[in-house]
């Protein structure tokens, strides 16, 4: 089985994400009329394969597998699925999967691009528990932000349908918008806490000589993202009525995070020496 590498397991996981995406299209078309377990099971299977892939990679280097863009992306997706599987246990929240699957599949295909996972050189200079904590908490934070964006997307869809008296608003089994709103803000809050821990752990890591820290694009970008999410929560607290704008903010922030994540990684000398 040695020819069957962690990348093969991840490929299988992405294939199942693809199946889940196709299945989700049918759920969308049916209007979420029946509490659906199939998609949850599909994502559970994909998550298992995904976990195997990550563990295999992690054990082979004895550290948290977040050393290049491929690993960071797969970790991010893994965190998103883990968050979904936890939240999906609550009644009527399994439909989050139908909103999450297309993102998982698209980003998963992107992660499989060979250039993102170059052959590994010597053991990275900075390894150990703090690095793993830094990387893992930040990726879990991205997972929470991602699922928050998915819940916000559900909120916006359902709210629009209710406002414009669409029949599918009542025909669907989606959760009430108030609950979706609560879930969104809680996920963003959890994400922000994890992000804070991760950034703090990153700040405590030994810095390589002759590398700028405060001007490193990834550091600047991370602090910017941290401020964005903090501002979203603050605005939400000050103006509780603007739930729609908050939901849009969460969706846009995560899209921005996804679109800029790889670019800042490539530009960062700290993260991409």
């Amino acid at each position: 089985m040695s020819w069957f590498t962690d990348r093969h397991f991840f490929l299988l996981a992405v294939a199942v994400y693809g199946v889940s995406t196709v299945y989700s299209v049918f759920l969308w078309r049916k209007g979420f009329r029946k509490d659906d377990h199939i998609n949850y099971l599909l994502l559970l299977v994909a998550f298992t394969l995904h976990t195997v892939a990550m563990f295999q990679r992690g054990f082979s280097f004895n550290q948290c597998p977040v050393n290049n863009l491929y690993e960071a992306t797969t970790f991010l997706l893994w965190a998103l699925v883990a968050a979904y599987l936890a939240v999906g246990l609550l009644p009527r929240l399994k439909f989050l999967g139908a909103f999450a699957s297309p993102v998982l599949f698209a980003v998963g295909v992107f992660a499989l691009m060979p250039s993102l996972d170059p052959p590994r050189g010597p053991q990275p200079e900075f390894s150990g528990a703090l690095t793993s904590l830094h990387a893992a908490t930040i990726m879990l934070a991205y997972g929470a932000f991602g699922l928050g964006a998915v819940a916000a997307g559900m909120f916006l869809t359902q709210q629009h349908d209710l406002k414009f008296h669409k029949l599918r608003a009542v025909l669907s089994l989606m959760p009430p918008i108030q609950r979706l709103e609560t879930i969104t803000s809680r996920l963003v809050f959890v994400g922000l806490v994890l992000f804070t821990i991760g950034l703090d752990a990153g700040g405590r890591l030994p810095r390589p000589e002759y590398t700028a820290y405060w001007t490193d694009p990834k550091v600047v970008w991370s602090i910017f993202m941290w401020l964005v999410y903090l501002a979203l929560l603050m605005v939400r607290r000050i103006f509780p009525q603007s739930n729609r704008r908050f939901a849009w903010g969460v969706v846009v922030a995560f899209i921005f995070l996804l679109l800029t994540f790889w670019g800042t990684n490539l530009l960062s000398t700290l993260h991409h020496p």
Binding site: H165, V170, Q241
Partner: protein, 362 residues
């Protein structure tokens, strides 16, 4: 021995006739006893609701004879002396079983897919079972009917959604609020539909009802009935700070709530979500308010459109349900033929005795 059905329902007869043939619940055991003692049926269940009166019987008699005796029984015990035509329907196997399953699933009900009939059918069966008027055949047929109803409820959309305006309003509220517990409801104008809607919301956990009406006495009366409180008509705006749902059904010729009036009220209630149900014609609430953040306005046509949508969905499911029922009836009849498990040795296969019915008190 066959399972047969004789009865009349909203499909075949008007309420004036149905009420003549209705059985009081307390009298049913006596009627069942009479049916069995007379030799017409070995087992029997009587279902008597506002929409149907039916006798399900397992009988060894030839169908023609059995129906003649059952009809005579019905006419005699209810002292009905007029001619009966198509109002009374009679069914033999497999149609009788098919009918039983359809009734259990709410497919023969006035409101397609309603679930109340299943409870009534269970109650009718339990009553017969308690008094030992059922046996292997009816037990198996009824239990299978209850299973089919459960299967259909979970596998199809025939029972999904609400087809009345009041239930649709409740369903909408459940799509907006995490829970209806502790929600405050304001009823503006004490009309029948708003009363029904308020009751439905209360049954789902709404905390209290505030009633305002031009006639304060009427408001007080309704508030007392619903366990809420009445407020003078001109003060209803002050209540907006506390409420989550408002149902309006006044006879005002103009809008009593418009955007200009609601905007400051929404600020006062810190923009919490507000569901407005406007069932008045002409409308009480200006449609413009729906453009305000966190305000969800539905008028009578919107609610009716949702109810109609549900009904359409239910109708689309009929073919699927019919197919499931046909398969289940086939399965039941197959098991009957295979193991003859429905055999009842009760000696009732002979001719019915001369039936001496009691006076028409049943």
């Amino acid at each position: 021995m066959n399972v047969v059905v004789i009865g009349l329902s909203h499909h075949s007869s008007p309420v004036e006739l149905r009420e003549r043939f209705a059985f009081a619940e307390a009298k049913i055991p006596e009627a069942l006893k009479l049916l069995r003692e007379s030799g017409i049926a070995a087992e029997a269940v009587i279902l008597s609701t506002c929409n149907r009166v039916e006798i399900y019987a397992a009988t060894a008699l030839e169908p023609v004879r059995a129906f003649a005796e059952l009809k005579k029984f019905l006419v005699t015990v209810h002292a009905y002396d007029m001619a009966l035509g198509d109002e009374l329907y009679t069914l033999v196997e497999p149609q009788s079983l098919h009918h039983l399953f359809k009734v259990a699933c709410g497919m023969d009900s006035m409101v397609l897919g309603e679930t109340e009939i299943l409870g009534q059918l269970k109650k009718a069966y339990d009553l017969a079972l308690q008094h030992q008027h059922t046996g292997a055949r009816l037990n198996k047929a009824f239990q299978r009917a209850f299973n089919v109803a459960k299967h259909i409820r979970t596998e199809t959309n025939i029972q999904r959604g609400s087809v009345s305006v009041a239930s649709v309003a409740v369903e909408l509220a459940e799509k907006i609020f995490s829970s209806l517990t502790n929600r405050e409801v304001l009823v503006i104008g004490a009309g029948e539909t708003s009363e029904k809607t308020a009751r439905a919301l209360l049954s789902r956990g709404a905390r209290s009802i505030i009633v305002v009406n031009r006639s304060h006495d009427r408001a007080m009366a309704l508030a007392n009935e619903l366990g809420g409180r009445a407020v003078p008509f001109d003060d209803w705006g002050a209540e907006f700070e506390k409420i989550d749902i408002a149902i309006s059904s006044t006879s005002a010729p103009h809008h009593i709530l418009d955007r200009a009036r609601l905007e400051p009220l929404m600020k006062a209630r810190q923009q919490r979500p507000l569901l407005l149900i406007d069932i008045a014609v002409p409308r009480d609430i200006d449609p413009e308010v729906n453009f305000l953040e966190n305000v969800y306005l539905y008028n009578i046509d919107d609610l009716q459109a949702i109810a109609d949508g549900y009904l359409k969905q239910r109708k689309e499911e009929i073919a699927r349900c019919e197919q499931i029922i046909a398969e289940k009836v086939k399965g039941l009849l197959q098991s009957k033929h295979e193991n003859r498990g429905w055999k009842i040795e009760d000696g009732t296969s002979g001719s019915p005795s001369s039936i001496l019915y009691p006076p028409p008190s049943l």
